[in-house]
């Protein structure tokens, strides 16, 4: 049974593009205006990780749900679909 998110993510097939479909528009906004960094909490795949002074975007594990785009209080995430055929590939439900 997959308990941790890492274990859950191992269950999913990703056909990653080399280029990110997610982009933090302005890294300064994350650093200076956004103390809560909600995206690092609610993202269901932990795509967003704050590492001390910079937001890292692990786009390869993205489920393309769109929460970050809608949930970012500063509209600071440029969100596109990955190139056709790329990104997450669900096999079941």
């Amino acid at each position: 049974m997959a308990k941790t998110l890492e274990e859950k993510q191992y269950l999913v097939r990703f056909n990653c593009d080399t280029k990110s479909h997610l982009e933090v528009r302005d890294h300064d906004v994350c650093a200076t205006k956004c103390p809560d960094k909600d995206c690092t909490i609610f993202c269901p795949a932990d795509v967003y990780k704050w590492e001390g002074d910079r937001m890292f975007v692990g786009f390869e594990g993205c489920h393309e749900c769109g929460s970050c785009r809608i949930g970012c209080p500063f509209d600071n995430i440029k969100w596109e679909y990955p190139k056709g055929g790329h990104g997450i590939v669900f096999r079941l439900a």
């Binding site: 990653c16 593009d17 080399t18 890292f56 692990g58 594990g61």
Partner: protein, 347 residues
């Protein structure tokens, strides 16, 4: 096909520009064990131009006989000439097992010969054995991207052929003065009837980054923080003669090019040794390297998932341990060389 007619273990002795290539000698080591088990001769096959003198070296590494075809037409490797030469030898002398190095030319040759003499060939083997009872060669290899090992058998055709990955088998310690039999054969092809011609061979020590074929990879994750950290990783790689790998974050930080990236969006690698420095072990990285033979992980976070796939782990500050590792390793190699030289002096 009368299987009983086929006897002996053969090894294709690859030479490049008149020098023996290591893998041939490694295969003599592996072939020796098979030949001893089967109580048959271990034979080398040596093709080229002005290569006859190389034969004696193969005796020191375990060969009993060497079939040599020394002809200017064989100076450079070409499938059409080598396939014909080897095919003729096989038809004439009928070996039961035939090993080739899994090099570019070794694989090319083995594939062509297999069709030429209509027999089975197993590619990229890493484990060789014989079933004495059935007198059957058991060649094993990783399959499906290294997810499984499979033993391949060739029951009704001879010779039983395999290509063997370089640096998997061990060379025997050379026995100076050990001798064997040289059997010279000739080839009946004429240059003007050939369809191919090698125009130029370019070898450069500093080839482009090729992670997928690297045997040792030292890989940096975002735990190495900055340029200084990356330098430190490069220094270790240099001492180990390793290829430098990186997680995507490190590439994104601009510390190296994308051709260094290991993982889902980079290369999938299966080196014999993978050293992960400051890599947390996110799935997108791990899927690219989890089938490495030995994985060493260095991370300051004891809960890093990289430790789940690693064989050896240390929880340590990369900035402390990596330079130390570089020094220790240098020392260890140096000691070994000195010990060896010392040994020679005593003989």
């Amino acid at each position: 096909m009368n299987l009983e007619e086929y006897r002996g273990v053969w090894v294709f002795i690859e030479q490049r520009e008149g020098k023996l290539v290591d893998v041939g000698l490694e295969l003599l080591g592996a072939g020796r064990a098979l030949a001893d088990k089967l109580e048959v001769d271990l034979c080398g096959v040596l093709l080229g131009s002005n290569v006859k003198d190389l034969a004696k070296d193969t005796f020191e590494y375990g060969a009993d006989k060497v079939y040599v075809i020394d002809d200017p037409i064989l100076e450079q490797y070409r499938t059409e000439t080598y396939m014909k030469a080897v095919g003729d030898l096989v038809r004439k002398y009928k070996p039961e097992i035939f090993l080739y190095g899994a090099t570019a030319n070794g694989k090319d040759l083995a594939s062509a010969v297999a069709t030429e003499v209509m027999t089975g060939l197993t590619a990229d083997t890493t484990l060789l054995d014989v079933n004495l009872e059935k007198r059957l060669f058991e060649a094993s290899r990783p399959a499906f991207g290294g997810n499984i090992m499979a033993t391949i058998l060739c029951k009704k055709h001879r010779p039983q052929m395999a290509t063997v990955r370089p640096k998997v088998m061990k060379k025997l310690d050379p026995q100076p003065g050990r001798v064997g039999e040289v059997i010279e054969e000739s080839i009946s092809l004429k240059e003007e009837n050939l369809k191919t011609k090698v125009i130029e061979i370019v070898r450069s020590a500093k080839a482009a980054v090729n992670l997928e074929e690297a045997e040792i990879i030292v890989s940096a994750g975002k735990g190495i923080k900055d340029e200084k950290g990356f330098k430190m990783v490069e220094q270790l790689a240099d001492v180990l003669n390793a290829t430098v790998g990186a997680s995507r974050d490190v590439v994104e930080m601009g510390l190296c090019g994308h051709d260094h990236q290991v993982g889902q969006t980079g290369a999938t690698v299966t080196p014999k040794l993978y050293i992960a420095i400051g890599i947390s072990g996110a799935v997108q990285h791990v899927v690219g390297m989890q089938n490495s033979e030995m994985i060493i992980a260095i991370n300051n976070d004891p809960d890093a998932t990289i430790f789940n796939v690693a064989h050896f782990g240390v929880v340590a500050d990369a900035f402390e341990i990596v330079p130390l590792l570089t020094e220790e390793f240098k020392k260890a190699l140096k000691n070994e060389v000195e010990a060896e030289e010392g040994g020679v002096a005593h003989v």
